[in-house]
């Protein structure tokens, strides 16, 4: 029993937790931006799959790692454009279009994968991002190793939390994004196009989701597998609610979730097979549902979330 507690005080546990949190941070920020602008993006799971493949494939074809990240982001934006075109100006059901985009992005990814690599049995590997210890900071006691011996993409995730929070709350653009999610009529009255702001937000958010997917193939692992996103996108949707649509709280939620995930993996090894391993694997999903129940009562959804906007409509 002692061992189960000791895990929490090992640096390797927290290094793993931060690594597991990284793709969730990207994708949760992405979903948060979409929802703040009033658009629920259920394309997240598929967009992460497409991003995971696009980034990895770019590197596999000889591109460098950052080009891979850029390509993943562009692929994400393309799906964001599709999603937002159908849901914003055409006002189609965000649930149906989101599921459609997930199915399309996933199946297109698998199709292209099979086309490009027809006969492979074991997925080819790339040289992924390497850990890059921050000089000085990585030697800090307690947090140094966990926070500052990560790969550059993890640092980017943390920087983006600050950038998104600053952008949403301190810039006119951020104000416009939040306003179209709360009171689009008032934004239109200011002479700003609700359609443009919402579409832009969904495209930017989708780009982040795709980078979240790319983290898995280019930083956490070094190859692309089928079903590799495995529900992470849906977890991120829960994290946005858990974080009450605020970047800082969402970051906290992602780290808590990831710590729990890292912990269950270690408990699994510790339990020595007495409890079926599937029980441990279920815990993160069950925890997400539990978190939703806990926050549901005081969740304040953006008022215009899932409400299509028509110019001149009251």
């Amino acid at each position: 029993m002692m061992d189960a507690v000791e895990i929490l005080f090992t640096a390797s546990f927290w290094v793993a937790a931060i690594r597991i949190a990284s793709p969730l941070i990207f994708a949760t920020l992405g979903e948060l931006i979409c929802e703040r602008a009033g658009v629920l993006n259920l394309g997240i799971e598929g967009i992460m799959t497409a991003g995971a493949f696009a980034g990895w494939f770019t590197v596999y074809m000889g591109g460098d790692l950052w080009t891979g990240v850029l390509v993943a982001a562009l692929v994400g934006m393309a799906f964001g454009l599709l999603h937002s075109f159908l849901t914003v100006p055409l006002g189609l059901s965000q649930h149906v279009v989101g599921i459609g985009v997930t199915l399309l992005a996933t199946s297109l990814t698998y199709y292209v994968y099979r086309l490009a690599l027809p006969e492979v049995t074991s997925p080819p590997k790339i040289e992924p991002f390497q850990p890059w210890p921050v000089p000085g900071l990585s030697k800090l006691p307690v947090v140094g190793e966990a926070l500052f011996t990560q790969t550059p993409l993890t640092y980017l995730a943390f920087v983006l939390v600050i950038v998104v929070a600053w952008g949403l709350y301190r810039t006119p653009l951020g104000l416009a994004v939040r306003a179209v999610g709360e009171n689009p009529g008032a934004v239109e009255a200011q002479g700003i196009s609700v359609t443009a702001v919402r579409m832009g937000a969904v495209m930017a958010g989708s780009a982040l989701m795709a980078i979240g997917g790319a983290f898995l193939t280019m930083s956490a692992f070094n190859s692309f597998f089928f079903n590799m996103i495995n529900g992470r996108g849906w977890v991120c949707i829960a994290l946005v609610v858990f974080g009450s649509w605020r970047p800082g709280k969402a970051l906290l939620g992602a780290i808590l979730f990831a710590a729990f995930d890292a912990y269950q993996i270690r408990l699994q090894q510790l339990s020595g097979g007495v409890v079926p391993y599937q029980v441990f694997l279920m815990l993160p999903y069950a925890l997400s549902i539990l978190a939703l129940i806990v926050v549901a009562r005081r969740a304040t959804y953006p008022k215009a979330l899932m409400v299509p906007y028509q110019k001149g409509e009251r």
Partner: protein, 349 residues
């Protein structure tokens, strides 16, 4: 750009728009086929041949359509009341689990009693599985989209646990698989020696029954009213929460019957690959049918034909069979767009 409602489309128009949607889907798929260095026309001919070119192909398509009718109906019923059940996959597996638990000899009963009993048990299991998220939605305001999606992963892990534990077939070497159900629990085949089974007949009967429920009963009227405008329905004194709960029980139960039908009619045992995403494809099936239960039968056969045909085509033409998944997803998006365009006029301004 803005949308203006059009007068109700004529019959010709309401057929033309969906047809255009399917044509656009085939054009997009054709471009993807060309990326694979294949001729789209010969590939589509092979798909058609694989789906409907022989008695074997047709029976295979109908067999594959069977679970899709169940999940499509489950989604159609739920979406009609704007209950976003994305968990038909989990409910289907729940039905399959119950079928295996009760059907492998635990109940030594004759087929005439055992089959309906197992079917009812599966129905209840699936109903209860969706009742959970529905209750959380009504009681705490928890969004059912995320809870039903996450339950898909939990239930699949649960199946994996059972197959490596209490439901493991001691005779199956290595591969996680449950024991076969007994003969008395099996659904008969429609034609002896062929794979098409009575699950298909049940599915079609259920579709007709649901069409009746949706069109002619108070519950159907209430479900449509709640889906159309829950606030107005509440204002008119409708028991909105009760209607949503009934919808959830119905939807979850129907999806579970899909799992029952696959095990009792076709596979005989439970495996982790019992459903290659029937629950998710059910969403496409329901939307293509515009949530009409009778339409679900036809859209399920159409979607199943694409899958069966593409699998056959892929073996000879070398185009990855994932083209089927792409076509199905594309048809969903083109179809909802087409339906919208048939009802609204787009003004570019």
């Amino acid at each position: 750009m803005r949308l203006e409602p059009k007068p109700a489309p004529s019959l010709a128009m309401s057929i033309l728009y969906p047809v255009v949607a399917i044509v656009v889907t085939f054009i997009i798929a054709g471009v993807l086929v060309m990326l694979a260095d294949a001729n789209p026309f010969s590939v589509f001919r092979l798909v058609l041949k694989g789906a409907a070119g022989s008695q074997f192909a047709i029976l295979e398509t109908l067999t594959r359509a069977t679970p899709l009718i169940f999940t499509g109906l489950a989604v159609a019923v739920a979406f009609r009341a704007k209950l976003w059940n994305i968990g038909a996959e989990a409910q289907l597996y729940m039905g399959a689990i119950i079928t295996v638990v009760l059907g492998t000899g635990a109940l030594p009963l004759p087929a005439i009693i055992l089959v309906p009993l197992v079917m009812l048990a599966a129905l209840i299991g699936g109903a209860l599985l969706l009742a959970g998220p529905a209750w959380l939605k009504l009681r705490f305001g928890v969004d059912e989209v995320v809870t039903t999606l996450l339950l898909n992963f939990i239930v699949l892990l649960f199946v994996s646990m059972l197959l490596e534990g209490v439901l493991k077939d001691p005779m199956a070497l290595g591969w996680p698989q449950s024991p076969k159900i007994i003969a008395e629990a099996q659904l008969p085949r429609v034609i002896t020696g062929k794979r098409l089974h009575y699950g298909f007949v049940i599915a079609v009967a259920l579709a007709i029954g649901l069409w009746f429920v949706m069109k002619k009963t108070v519950l159907g009227y209430e479900m449509r009213a709640v889906g159309h405008n829950a606030e107005a329905a509440r204002f008119l004194g409708m028991p909105v929460n009760g209607v949503l709960m009934k919808t959830a029980l119905l939807s979850g139960g129907i999806a579970a019957l899909g799992g029952f039908s696959e095990v009792a009619g076709l596979k005989g045992s439970l495996t982790l690959d019992l459903s290659p995403g029937f629950g998710y494809t059910g969403i496409v099936v329901a939307m293509l049918a515009m949530l009409n239960p009778i339409g679900v039968v036809f859209s399920a056969i159409f979607v199943a034909g694409i899958f069966v045909g593409a699998a056959a085509m892929s073996r000879t033409a070398g185009v990855p069979s994932y083209i089927a998944d792409v076509m199905v997803a594309t048809s969903l998006l083109t179809m909802v767009t087409a339906i919208m365009l048939s009802r609204y006029r787009v003004k570019w301004k």
